[in-house]
């Protein structure tokens, strides 16, 4: 079942705020995007940009207090998740939308066997018996490439290495064949070589099962290899949204441009590594105007005064900038510098 225009997920103007000692932190402040069936969407941003909060908001895992979802819609298969009762949301979690988290070390319950943690999902959502669930758990472990799954299924999390634990997380997430998998920085805590393996695994599984994926990361390299569409977030807002191939070919936003330039190019000559100057803003105390203005090369007076418009550059490419068109036009082939 999908909504009228074939979107599996539609997020409209999502706002999630946190009440802290320092004031109200607008972690997510008006996010909108679409995800079609079978697509992979990448969400890119520095820490504090609101990317994780966005995804936690989708399945309503925001701790309340101090967080609260103050507005917007999250329409999944035609239903607005934000309007559902707690019980109904729980039916969706794990069953139709599954999530894997950044740190596999701490995301698995150290006191329970892996088998138990896998089985409880299918027992709950698919009504498996213990025996069925057990067999299914072994099958899932084999699917994600855990060697010797039959014996290892009875192990505890600390008996696996980091990469293997992440595979277990993936196995757990996909046990009930969800329609959407949200992967929150699944490889950040892992070693580089393992990263590639995990990403390959996700790609493979996605192709086999047709699951849609939202991939959150701060690593543009990951985005390039894995996603169909990308949104770039900064200070709780979407700064650029485009088809992946187009974003890398021709970006329309100074922030994205800066991000692309920061990716070290091993083939370039020896020189200084580029870093966007300054640091991410304090989201509790945002200045008026464009949040990126203090760090932006292109910034002018208007950027500090007025909030930028969300400019449509092509059919499927938008940018939040006063000078979007200009940046777009001058940025063909920007990746090497």
């Amino acid at each position: 079942m999908s909504s009228a225009n074939g979107n599996l997920l539609e997020v409209n103007d999502l706002r999630t705020y946190f009440d802290t000692e320092d004031g109200v932190v607008k972690a997510v402040d008006g996010i909108s995007f679409r995800l079609k069936r079978g697509e992979t969407l990448g969400i890119v941003g520095e820490s504090g940009s609101g990317k994780s909060v966005t995804n936690l908001s989708i399945i309503r895992l925001i701790p309340d207090p101090p967080g609260r979802i103050v507005g917007g819609e999250v329409v999944f298969n035609g239903q607005d998740i934000l309007l559902l009762s707690g019980k109904e949301v729980r039916k969706i979690r794990g069953r139709r939308i599954a999530m894997i988290f950044q740190d596999p070390m701490t995301s698995l319950n150290p006191f329970l066997k892996i088998s138990r943690q896998l089985m409880e999902m299918t027992q709950l959502h698919l009504g498996h018996t213990k025996a069925q669930a057990y067999q299914h758990a072994i099958k899932m472990l084999e699917t994600v490439g855990i060697p010797d799954a039959r014996t290892r299924v009875d192990n505890y999390p600390h008996e696996f290495s980091g990469g293997m634990r992440q595979r277990v997380m993936i196995a757990m997430a996909l046990s009930c064949e969800p329609e959407l998998l949200i992967a929150d920085e699944p490889t950040t805590a892992l070693d580089v070589t393992i990263q590639a393996q995990i990403l390959e695994l996700i790609k493979k599984l996605k192709q086999e099962t047709g699951t849609s994926v939202i991939l959150i990361t701060h690593d543009l390299g990951v985005v390039a290899g894995m996603t169909d569409h990308v949104i770039v977030m900064y200070a709780g807002k979407i700064f650029e949204q485009a088809k992946t191939s187009e974003l890398f070919a021709q970006t329309g936003n100074p922030y994205t441009k800066g991000l692309l330039r920061s990716v070290p190019d091993p083939t370039a000559e020896q020189g200084q590594l580029y870093q966007i100057p300054g640091s991410p803003p304090d989201v509790a105390h945002l200045q008026p105007g464009c949040p990126f203005a203090p760090r932006c090369e292109r910034a002018e007076e208007i950027c500090r005064r007025e909030f930028p418009p969300f400019v449509k550059l092509t059919a499927d490419h938008h940018s939040l900038c006063h000078f979007a068109n200009e940046v777009f036009a001058t940025s063909a082939g920007v990746t090497s510098n």
Partner: protein, 308 residues
């Protein structure tokens, strides 16, 4: 695991011997002796007493004999004050009194403390949380020798609901006030520990994962959070038992219970050496064994520790 236990037992035995020696040494080093509190005895009688109790022999012989008896037959001798009663008999008689009060008190503390603390953690910063934390703070701050008599005053002497003291066996109503008094401070500690442990666990990533899997909140709390959250309580059982022992001493004095603690105090006041040594050794052994059990339980409960 087995190696761990054996290693611990190997450390335990010398420790107990050291404790016994230390106690023996303290008693011997101290000025005076057990019969000197009474009026000055004529020299002849004193000589007789010393002979009878072997006090005229050199100290190392006496020490040797004492230790030999203990190690060989677990014979701690005869009480100097309670004529004709062997130390072992006295201990055997008084132990059930202390043990039942102590065990019941700790069980009560667990039964009330754990749910109270868990609830406080779940409803953090609510009225329940604040009020239960305030009450537990009171529980920790009011000494048991203040609480006990006040409870007696209110419930026994004013309201006539419960009997004030005496011991009529485990199942009589006499046990209620002593158990409650003794239990109060542990109830408070356990509630606080549970709350802290649960809060810590509830914030952890794996609880977030559990919720993301769609499990109900009850399921998350009971099957996922509780195991980790109760770890501090398990660790606490070790020192708690030590405190429980000393607490029992006070309780027995207030409520006039014929337990081990009471005998210990009397023995100390009377300089009843065999009895003192016997009780101290017994307590030391019990504590060390209990601590070992707690460690085993801890390893049992936490799989990460198991595979060392």
């Amino acid at each position: 695991m087995l190696r761990f236990i054996i290693k611990r037992l190997l450390v335990t035995i010398p420790t107990i011997l050291v404790v016994i020696t230390l106690t023996w040494g303290l008693i011997r080093l101290a000025p005076g002796n057990f019969y000197s509190s009474e009026k000055k005895l004529p020299a002849a009688i004193e000589k007789n007493i010393r002979e009878k109790y072997g006090l005229d022999k050199p100290w190392y012989q006496q020490y040797g004999r004492t230790m030999w008896n203990i190690l060989r037959h677990l014979d701690f001798g005869t009480s100097l004050k309670y004529q004709g009663q062997s130390v072992n008999t006295i201990i055997r008689r008084s132990l059930p009194v202390s043990a039942s009060v102590g065990i019941l008190a700790y069980l009560l503390a667990l039964v009330i403390g754990i749910p109270a603390g868990s609830l406080a953690a779940l409803k953090q910063n609510s009225k329940w949380d604040y009020s239960s934390m305030a009450i537990t703070m009171l529980g920790i701050s009011v000494p048991n020798f203040v609480l006990g008599p006040i409870l007696v005053l209110v419930f026994a002497l004013s309201l006539y609901w419960l009997p004030p003291s005496r011991w009529d066996g485990v199942l009589s109503r006499n046990i209620i006030l002593p158990v409650i008094t003794l239990s109060a401070v542990y109830m408070a500690y356990i509630a606080r520990l549970t709350r802290a442990g649960m809060l810590e666990v509830l914030r952890s990533d794996y609880i977030r994962t559990a919720r993301a899997k769609g499990l109900s909140e009850a399921n998350v709390v009971i099957h996922h959070a509780l195991r980790g959250g109760l770890m501090p309580v398990v660790s606490y059982t070790g020192p708690a038992l030590a405190f429980l022992l000393t607490g029992t001493v006070v309780i027995e004095k207030i409520f006039a219970l014929p337990g081990l603690g009471n005998y210990f105090i009397q023995a100390s006041l009377n300089r009843d050496e065999p009895l003192i040594i016997g009780i101290v050794a017994f307590i030391a052994i019990t504590l060390l064994l209990m601590n070992l059990l707690v460690d085993i339980a801890y390893a049992f409960l936490d799989p990460r520790v198991r595979y060392q």
